[in-house]
């Protein structure tokens, strides 16, 4: 699977901070790629660098086969971008905004646009500044989808939206990307919705990439292990590096394993806790994985 976005040793420094450090990221074509991380991790900076809004301090980013610094109008016609902080021209009505955007995209699909406006129940004649935040995000999404871009980049698209709008957006994105095999890069710290949406995830913390892989592989690899012992368990000194810090209570030890392998990991646990009787391994939600990893990195 070829990469639609790739970064090589990408660094972005600001006078007061280093936002992205030595980032090597590959976003496979056709994937719905969740770009995760806590606030201030550098997700938005990465996306703005990819979109040529920022110039990299060093390293490079390639988008649709072209260096991000040389993104031409032809390439931008293949990229849809929606961000929570984007300043839309509030004086325009929804209709005029969509009409205005249409002229920039030869491949603009008016039928798709009309269908999306209808699906999202957008008031065509109302000015963008008069719309609610959710409605504005929908209008931005329509204007970023109606020309069927090869790559759709969504920067925190769901933050601050009510659950109903969130569901509508997620459903909309899922339906369209499934139909057209688009690549979608979505950054978020709102993981409950992302879990149903993404096929791949990457996790960024303080500007550094912690991992990047398929969601299924992540969920196979990261498991929660619970061990019940006969008496108060002792955490062994030789604790594997890939296992996160355990929590212990009277007779229970609970921890997260980030390199789980069927057969091998249970044997390894048993050898570390020889006096324990019950061992249970549970698959984790993306949210649980994210929280565990975030806690362990603090």
């Amino acid at each position: 699977m070829s990469s639609v976005i790739s970064t090589v040793h990408l660094n972005k420094k600001f006078p007061s901070s280093e936002a992205v450090l030595d980032l090597n990221l590959e976003v496979p074509a056709g994937s719905i790629f969740g770009y995760l991380g806590p606030n201030g991790a550098g997700k938005t900076t990465t996306i703005k660098t990819i979109m040529n809004i920022y110039v990299p301090s060093s390293g490079s980013a390639t988008v649709l086969g072209l260096d991000s610094c040389r993104l031409s109008t032809a390439r931008l016609q293949q990229i849809g971008y929606v961000s929570e902080n984007q300043e839309l021209p509030g004086w325009m009505s929804v209709n005029y905004y969509l009409d205005y955007c249409r002229a920039f995209y030869p491949q603009w699909d008016t039928d798709l646009c009309d269908a999306l406006v209808k699906q999202f129940d957008l008031p065509r004649k109302r000015q963008l500044k008069q719309l609610s935040r959710g409605m504005r995000m929908k209008a931005a999404l329509v204007s970023a989808i109606a020309y069927r871009p090869q790559l759709l980049i969504l920067d925190e698209p769901f933050s601050g939206l009510d659950p109903l709008v969130r569901d509508e957006l997620v459903e909309g994105i899922l339906a369209i990307s499934a139909d057209h095999n688009w690549t979608v890069l979505v950054s978020s710290h709102d993981l409950a919705e992302i879990e149903n949406l993404v096929t791949h995830v990457a996790y960024l913390d303080r500007g550094q990439l912690q991992f990047s892989e398929e969601l299924a592989s992540l969920q196979d690899r990261v498991r929660e292990v619970e061990v019940i012992c006969e008496d108060s368990p002792q955490v062994p000194a030789a604790w594997p590096e890939a296992w996160l810090k355990p929590e212990t209570s009277s007779a229970v030890v609970r921890f997260v394993v980030t390199d789980f392998t069927d057969g091998k990991t249970p044997e390894q646990v048993k050898s570390l806790f020889p006096r324990c009787r019950d061992l249970s391994v549970r698959q984790m939600s993306l949210r649980s994985i994210f929280i565990s990893l975030a806690k362990s990195h603090r």
Binding site: I53, V55, T73, I79, N85, Q86, E87, C101, A103
Partner: protein, 548 residues
């Protein structure tokens, strides 16, 4: 091209209010100029629609520049180059198209209305457009400079308020720079030399603004663009501070007036029958003045020039002494020529004054060399004869030099008052405007004149291409006598003289065996060089000179 038109239509739709304001204010300003200059203000009295329009037209002089600034800043900030959240940044805008669209917008809604405004005014006042082409280019350059500065402020700021703050800072810095230029030019023979420095400053500022705009549209890195702007301002300051006066002299030499090119000015001790020179007001200065006869050749018959001197006197065993002097007027023989307000000719006695007290006593009896520069300031002269309009008659139109004037008359307490209302193109170039009343072929000098005898030297106006001047003279005509045979209604005519600046030139001179003790005014009188007559005093600066 499609993108340019598409964005242009969007900007027109977005900024229609500001566009309308610019158009209305431009119209009002033009109307105000016509009403004000065309004498229509007489009709704008009391509470009437005329009055309202007149007041609005007056305000337009202040509001129009502000609105134009708002227009330029707003259209650029529609696609702001500052910040990272603007929606257009992730849309397939071509930066070149965007730049061209802003250029088109400013051309259509700012430059074109002002050009039309100027053209209409120029035509309304009867000046041919071909004649005003240079003026239109010059005003276009001024306007372009202002737009460049506004655009540079707009590409560096995210909001109109910030652009305004930056603009105020830029104005303060510009004024300080100009002040520094004027100060450093104080050693020039005249302040005109400063204009080269100011022009150079404006060119550097314009290039700096252009660099900021081009950089922002190409790379959109605001801190670097701001740094370019700061460097341009620093370059202006350095230029203002260290502008070499030798460069001004060099440029002044290159900029010799074509009318004065053929003129030669030579010292000639053998000249006779020279007109009496003007004497300095102070008796001490008069006693220390020395003179030498100079002859001007090659003067066109409608050109005169004022000559001033910067020289040094060197004699064996003495330190050099710096020498200057009051300017002297050279002109073709005025006898038989109606073009000149004063009598005079091409041969004149030029005064030389030693700058420093004590120098005269030191070098009085020396025999040395006087050498230096002669600065010629040329004037093209013209005259017009106009019948005096009867009181209550409509104004009479006439043209003189590049001025179009109307004259009205009225009588009061046995005096005839003539009121001249004149217009000319920016920048005003009339150096002098003088009037004589002829009654039954006898000249009458005015008893009193007031108003603008000169329109020259003013800083070119930003908005109007027309300069207006008012001049009013009162005459006390003699009572008609039986001898005159004129009857109760004497034949009266106005003779108007006007002079226009015709550029400058420099010449060098050298007089061997210059002996101050032998070149006093009395000594030249004894040699018969000076025509007997009264010696007029040099009037203090600023007082009007009555025609001789």
């Amino acid at each position: 091209m499609n993108q340019v038109v598409h964005i242009f239509r969007k900007d027109c739709r977005r900024l229609w209010r500001v566009i309308s304001a610019v158009l209305v204010l431009t119209f009002l300003h033009g109307y105000g100029v016509i009403v004000d200059l065309g004498g229509g203000s007489n009709y704008a009295i009391g509470l009437s629609p005329y009055m309202l329009l007149y007041v609005l037209a007056g305000l337009s002089g202040l509001l129009l520049p502000i609105t134009l600034f708002l227009l330029v800043v707003s259209v650029i900030q529609e696609e702001s180059l500052v910040g990272s959240e603007k929606f257009w940044l992730t849309r397939p805008y071509s930066r070149l198209s965007l730049f061209l669209e802003k250029l088109l917008f400013v051309a259509v809604w700012a430059v074109l209305p002002m050009l039309l405004h100027d053209v209409v005014l120029i035509r309304y006042f009867g000046f041919p457009l071909s004649y005003a082409f240079g003026l239109l280019l010059w005003k276009g350059a001024q306007f372009g400079f202002c737009i460049l500065v506004a655009a540079a402020l707009a590409v560096l700021s995210a909001s109109f308020g910030r652009a305004l703050l930056l603009g105020i800072s830029a104005v303060v810095i510009t004024l300080l720079s100009l002040y520094a230029v004027m100060q450093s030019a104080s050693g020039m023979p005249n302040a005109e030399g400063a204009s080269y420095g100011v022009l150079a400053l404006l060119v550097v500022a314009a290039l700096g603004a252009l660099a900021v705009i081009a950089f922002q549209y190409r790379f959109r890195i605001t801190p670097v663009a701001a740094m370019i702007g700061v460097m341009a301002i620093l370059a202006c300051m350095l230029l203002a501070r260290f502008w070499p006066s030798s460069l001004t002299h060099y440029l002044a030499r290159q900029d010799t007036s074509s009318l004065l090119r053929s003129v030669q000015v030579r010292p000639d001790a053998g000249l006779k029958d020279l007109p009496p020179p003007r004497l300095a007001q102070a008796a001490a200065a008069r006693s220390h003045s020395v003179y030498y006869p100079f002859q001007a050749t090659g003067l066109p018959d409608n050109v005169r020039f004022d000559l001033s001197v910067s020289a040094k006197f060197e004699s064996p065993g003495q330190a050099p002494a710096r020498v200057g002097g009051d300017s002297v007027r050279f002109q073709p023989q005025s006898a038989g020529s109606p073009r000149f307000a004063e009598a005079g000719g091409p041969d004149q006695l030029v005064p030389f004054d030693l700058y420093f007290a004590g120098d005269f006593e030191r070098v009085e009896n020396a025999d040395g060399v006087l050498s230096g520069k002669l600065f010629l300031e040329g004037f093209r002269t013209a005259a017009a004869r106009v019948p005096v309009p009867a009181p209550m008659e409509p104004p009479r139109d006439f043209a003189i030099a590049d001025r179009k004037c109307t004259v009205t008359s009225f009588t009061r307490e046995n005096k005839v008052a003539l009121v001249f209302d004149c217009v000319e193109l920016e920048p005003g170039n009339t150096a002098r405007f003088q009037v004589l009343l002829w009654q039954d072929n006898r000249p009458i000098t005015p008893s009193q004149c007031q108003g603008d005898s000169s329109s020259a030297g003013s800083w070119p106006g930003f908005l109007s291409p027309i300069v207006r001047t008012n001049y009013r003279c009162e005459f006390v005509p003699p009572e008609p006598t039986q001898d005159s045979g004129a009857g109760p209604n004497p034949r009266r005519e106005i003779l108007v003289f006007a002079e226009q600046h015709a550029g400058r030139a420099q010449r060098e001179f050298r007089i061997e065996h210059f002996r101050p003790a032998e070149f006093s005014l009395e000594a030249w009188e004894q040699r018969g060089a000076v025509r007997p007559g009264l010696y007029p005093l040099v009037p203090p600066a600023g007082s009007p000179r009555a025609p001789e």
